[in-house]
Symmetry: C2
Subunit: 468 residues, 2 copies
């Protein structure tokens, strides 16, 4: 190596800096100092010094960090190893990629489904609950803990599910997950082996399909009519090859918004019992039911222990809290919890404890009542605006619950082209093809009405009409 004084001059730093650097590199084994002869690269390193090496000599003002910096930034896309062939995860794309844009432009109207209004998020409530939790049990919630979830939240959820949804479950029967997406991923991860057949609604929820496919499931679509999944088709599917499970959204069918009638629910349970098939019931926005009382889940009539019930607080509280839950037979829950340990070890115990507080204080229920009234009013205003500004262009049934509607586009109108023109005018809607398993053009739009207030919805519909 150059003498410390010479190198200091070359690079333009104080000699002490070079001395310290040499000492550090020696301590780490890169250099070896011989007091009589000087400092040398350590022989053990086996580095070959080739003629014409691409390493140019260091110059004044030049620093190793700077060179490394620029070489890395110049080739951040560089990759020194081969990635295996990408798995097909087209259903796993977030909606933004589907719409063809990474980030919607500011001022875009979100008429995409399932988007609660951020202005209604209970941020102050949550902040206060966080503070209380950290003050009272900070050491516990910040430490390693139970992969099943904070027991207080599991108890609060079990209580709610038993009293309001007739599920008759205690805290041991509830697994808390980071949103229903994780619930689905754990269910399918624990249940599905590659090649297993899963019956799904032909119009359905793509992120669930993505979770199934990532575990190697073979998706078998079942026709959906104006009453949801055509359950009578399951027998013939089963005859072609045994089903591992059936996945569906019976309360507010995604995307068509209908509710599965009693006769089909009973038929579904009988089918499941007869063939020992699991039923995955995704009840993602149970609380928002506007007409009459919400329908009890299929799981509430499940004497045969076939149903796996997946729920979420994303729509009713806030999506960023990532709190969902799964009710399932104990052997399956146990497997899911063990799998969860290998994924992220545990949930966010601080958030879980904070939400338990909000349940116990009745804040969750009050928030649901308030926001349900707001969203029902928005639904009604949206319906009026559509009828006034787009008569004949869209045919729909007013949804009895949920955050979105499903509208048929009149003949002669191309739903995809209309959606693209609407996005150019900053109104974001989802064409029906993105909710069908074959991805082909469909004359439908899924329209969400909860993210904006009544006047914003009227303005959005006006833009949508102009884009027609």
């Amino acid at each position: 190596m150059p003498g410390s004084r010479a190198l200091a001059e070359q690079v333009g730093v104080h000699r002490n800096t070079v001395v310290a650097a040499y000492a550090e590199l020696t301590a780490q084994g890169f250099l070896r100092t011989d007091p009589a002869r000087g400092t040398f690269v350590h022989a053990d390193l086996g580095l070959a010094l080739e003629a014409g090496s691409s390493r140019r000599p260091m110059k004044r003002g030049d620093s190793q960090v700077h060179r490394a910096h620029s070489s890395r930034r110049a080739s951040t896309s560089g990759i020194g190893f081969d990635l295996p062939h990408a798995a097909d995860d087209r259903f796993g794309l977030p909606l933004s990629r589907i719409a063809g844009t990474q980030e919607p432009e500011p001022g875009t109207y979100f008429l995409t489904g399932g988007r609660p209004d951020p202005r209604l998020f209970p941020a102050a409530l949550v902040a206060r609950a966080y503070r209380r939790v950290l003050r009272r049990e900070g050491r516990r919630v910040l430490d390693y803990g139970d992969a099943m979830g904070h027991p207080r939240l599991r108890h609060a959820l079990a209580d709610m599910l038993t009293k309001v949804r007739s599920l008759a479950v205690d805290l041991d029967g509830v697994l808390v997950t980071r949103g229903s997406q994780m619930g689905l991923d754990l269910v399918f991860g624990a249940l599905i082996r590659p090649g297993d057949r899963v019956a799904v609604e032909a119009y359905g929820y793509p992120p669930a399909w993505a979770a199934m496919r990532r575990h190697g499931a073979q998706l078998c679509p079942v026709r959906v009519d104006d009453a949801g999944m055509c359950v009578d088709r399951l027998e013939s599917l089963q005859a072609k090859g045994p089903l591992r499970c059936v996945y569906l959204t019976p309360h507010h069918q995604y995307p068509t918004t209908t509710t599965l009638p009693a006769a089909r629910r009973i038929a579904l349970l009988e089918f499941a019992r007869r063939h020992r098939v699991a039923v995955v019931e995704d009840d993602y926005d149970y609380e928002y039911h506007y007409e009459g009382r919400p329908v009890p889940p299929v799981a509430s009539a499940d004497d045969g222990h076939n149903v796996i019930y997946v729920g979420s607080l994303s729509k009713v509280l806030a999506p960023g809290l990532r709190i969902g839950y799964v009710v399932a037979p104990a052997p399956l829950l146990e497997r899911m919890a063990r799998m969860r340990v290998m994924i992220d070890r545990q949930g966010d115990l601080t958030t879980e404890a904070a939400l338990a507080e909000l349940f116990e204080d009745g804040d969750v229920q009050r928030h649901i009542w308030r926001t349900a009234r707001v969203y029902q009013a928005r639904r009604d205003a949206f319906v009026v605006a559509l009828r006034e500004q787009l008569p004949g262009a869209l045919t729909f049934t007013v949804p009895p619950g949920g955050l979105a509607m499903w509208a048929r586009v009149e003949q002669g109108l191309d739903a995809d082209a209309w959606a693209a023109r609407a996005l150019a005018r900053r109104v974001w809607v989802v064409p029906g093809r993105h909710c069908h398993i074959d991805g082909r053009k469909r004359p439908y739009l899924r329209l969400g009405f909860t993210r904006h207030d009544e006047s914003e919805l009227v303005a959005a519909v006006r833009l949508l009409a102009r884009a027609r």
Copy 2:
């Protein structure tokens, strides 16, 4: 159905209750009312009323919910479908299962490795940061967001990694994960196809093995000596069949605590470059290096873009925050982010923003300095206690960093039996077999010294000595 008055008497409720129940069941399609003739079960339901049905008639004081309640509680282990054969996830067991107990008894001394002291968790700091974040950007952090992680935290991490660890990365090169466990699970999920060969340290970190195996990897152990992984063995492994990646812990080798020397680091990088093999560097407790300065990561010399760098804030801040990060070539990070969307959609943006604040305010660095001094003092006290109370029973090198030590048990002493006797006296230690890939008896103990203060450590060592 019985008349409402008769049923009310039978069940012991007010007649109005029965009337309301009939109305609800009618609305849901279970019953049908003929004003002239009465209320009937809906014909569409196709229910067969068999003689001698197991459904006993309802009696006074009896309620459907109550019966459902008791029938479900009686058979919570009931499951109406078949679970597929369980995957081998023995490495995925949490440490508590390994030690043979679900929950350690209260008052147990945790001499297990890697356990920061909950009394040192910065709970108040975190609480204040949560409050500020929710007040300032509550709508944003509680909404759907970026699967890569909150940009402020990615920027703060990139800044720290560039300045302190010479990684030369910007925010686009950092993926925030829920702990290093999720980082590892995403890396292996994106990189490994079933059957792929992965070189691992023969003494290593079982939760990482679990993550690899769950994606179908074939683990190929490499001998570990007193300087870490014997990197020169990789060539012959490669000759037997190409490796997809090498996983190791070069800074504080888990479990033996040694640091991989410079010569082996260079050889590792050259091997990786030559054969286009990925290197997964798990640097889980970088900041806690007591003697000299911490060694820069292998990733800091990675001109060939072979290294995937995984880090964590669990040890330095708190495990419950679940904040880890991965630095990797962009094509791999992109795949990992897409996969993450299908698992839990995104991280906890509130926590991520709160930690960004703590980084920006210098609180993280101050916390690291404080706790590092505390842990170093505890290490020293622990070493003294071991030498005084267990002379000859344990041989060890004082670890230059980290939260645990690796001690060889003298001949004639059975490490597993000793650990079991110690647990009976409420001192929890981990026998070396649990850190070796073949799981066979090993004459070692992994001993953590950070969860307890000096006097508690002395007391724990006394109990350990008595259990000998």
